[in-house]
């Protein structure tokens, strides 16, 4: 893993890679992240940079890899998935977050988005299924409950090395 991290750095900083930070644009060249629609969110969630430029140090990189590996527990994975899906970082998944999530899933471009009526119906269905306290948003425990019953999450939520 250290090798891959140092490959992302430009040549002159490679010796002290332990303390260097890789800018976001370089992280996005990783093959696993390249095709991922949540790439920006992933970088944002795992980055601990104070300047808010979403750059990642080696520890951040390790964190990301460990969460996505096969040996991470589903608790850890669902926790991080919740943070990734929470687009406005307010601690709950409300309607706007869900809308952005669905748009990310169906692809970029106008013709690949669901129209408004379908989006409404879909979000209504999702909230019906997962919102237990009926407050119109999904908090962390509701999310973890839903995800634990879903058989596909464990399989597809991991990057195999």
């Amino acid at each position: 893993a250290y090798k891959r991290f140092s490959e992302l750095l430009p040549k002159e900083e490679r010796e002290n890679a332990c303390s260097a930070r890789v800018p976001k644009s370089h992280i996005l060249t990783l093959p696993e992240l390249r095709a991922n629609p949540f790439q920006h969110r992933i970088c944002h969630v795992f980055s601990t940079s104070e300047t808010g430029d979403d750059s990642m140090s080696f520890e951040d990189f390790l964190d990301m890899l460990s969460v996505f590996s096969d040996s991470a527990t589903s608790d850890v994975k669902s926790h991080y998935a919740f943070r990734i899906f929470d687009f406005n970082d307010d601690g709950t998944l409300d309607r706007k977050d869900l809308e952005q999530l669905v748009n990310c899933l169906t692809g970029q471009g106008e013709e690949s988005r669901l129209n408004n009526a379908e989006m409404e119906q879909l979000i209504q269905n999702i909230l019906e299924e997962s919102d237990i306290d009926k407050d119109g948003t999904i908090n962390l425990s509701e999310f973890q409950h839903v995800v634990s019953r879903s058989p596909d999450f464990a399989r597809c939520g991991g990057l195999q090395r």
């Binding site: 991922n36 996505f68 669905v102 899933l105 879909l122 999702i126 995800v147 879903s150 058989p151 991991g158």
Partner: protein, 600 residues
Amino acid sequence: RASQQAETERLSRWKKWRRTSSKSLKKALSEVKGLSSYLVLWQRDIHSIEGKFGTGIQSYFSFLRFLVLLNFIIFILMFSFVTLPIIISESGIFNSTAAYISPKNIEDNCTIYEPSGNKGLVYFSAFLKDLFSGTGFLEMTSLFYGYYSVDAVGISIKGYDLPLAYLLTTFAYLALSFLWIIKRSGEGFMQNLVHDADPFQSYCNKVFAGWDFCITDPSAARLKHRSLHYELQMDLQEEKLKQKRAERTMKEKLQIYSLRIFINIIVIAILSGCFYSIYRVTVFSQENSSVSIRNDTGTDSVNLLVQYLPSMVITLANFIGPLIFSFLIRFEDYTPAFEIKLTLMRCVFVRLASIGVLLFSLLSQISDCGTDKCEPCGYNYKLYPCWESDVGQEMYKLMIFDFIVILAVPLFLDYPRMLLVTHCSCKLIQWFGHQEFGISDNVLEIIYGQTICWIGTFFSPLLPAIATIKYFIIFYIKKMVLIHVRRPAARPIRASGSNFFFLLVLLIGLILAFIPLGISIAHIPSSKACGPFRNFTTSWEVIPYKILQFPTGVQQVLFGMASEAFAVPFFMIICIIMFYFIALARAHKQVVEQLREQLV
């Protein structure tokens, strides 16, 4: 990391050593695990397919790998217990001998068996013909049942009862396949159960767990986006349709139901037409495939064609059937998900039942005792002096033809179509579009081949080897087809459900294979002219004969187990245990519901 370092300084030496050794052990284990992934067959290939095309198609390829392994193990089983003793005895290593006991109390007519094996040089065309039809020189090799006419093999001092070994190995490979499939489908079944128990979870499942993080290729990502979009749209549409359906009037309901019954009758009519034609073609082929004049290539090739006629008709039925079914189902107005399932079920039925019909017609020909044809021997000894080899030859021909078709379709249909679509921009051809890689069709194809292998192994012990090689080659062909020629289907199949479905259909194929095998072993008299069961009335008789040689105590126990006094209470106890588990599951479900209520 800093906190970990600070902690280690505070620990004693012993604990430090323990910690470092457990760390290095973990590292070593993970290295070994990484290396062992090289040893698993095709691990890299399947991984790259998963990255490019998603887990749905990957499940097809890992299913194929499972079948290769299964066939290989069956082959090892049959080879080591059945073929190897004969080879050892013939070559005389370890001071081995082979005992041929000539059958007593049997009419001489039954034991006449002269396979037209050519000794010496043959014409190349005759060689090819024999290779493809399993007659001629192939008939007397260890490929077919007729070779195993040995009754006992003695290796040094101990005797080895070949007929018993043959029968027991057959049961062993059937049991092994059964248990292995059930074990593999165990996990998939539990997931399916959980999934079905909460049908209202499907939206959350799709949205939160829909993205396959293993995809690395941008074009595959685009594909996944499109398929997710399509799936979500389909689900929403289905929901709207359901609401509409609930509001249907009585008159409309009546109309739809009568239309469905009518279409089902059409489907049954088509199926019976197919089966009847298979029956007639088999009878025709058996009556007309006679020994031909060696020099005349013209009649030779016609003869070959006649011999392959049943396989061709079956392949035609397997090809046309699905097309007709997917056309008809549109009129039946089911939900899209149910449509897919029903069409699939009908296709499965066509494929597996056609093998059954072929075997049934063959076996009825063999035991056709109309005009005293099988007086002394119990079977039609004039036409079929060694009928097990004949059945083995039919299975061999089916397998070879299936392999040829799988090789030919990409070469002659898909590749030109792909070339046409990419280079020619005329509207008609663009409307055809790219051929899709339909997962279900491919899966049914290989399950069909596997069923043939299971049935045929009893009659032709080296058939699993051919099946292993066949599936091995098919893997690479399908991989090439997927990458270069075809596109993945627009309608995705979810990975969690599909694995279980493949194994379920495979299990159906296995159980269907039990029926003709059971009839051949237990009901039809074994041929007296060849094979290890010459001295017994039927192949099954080896076992009672052997049991009678056991000490009396063991015999009494075994007879006791088979009698009604034991079987009925045993059956009742099993029913009670089953009801207990069902009740337990129901109680658990109720507890889950209650807990859910409490959460709100």
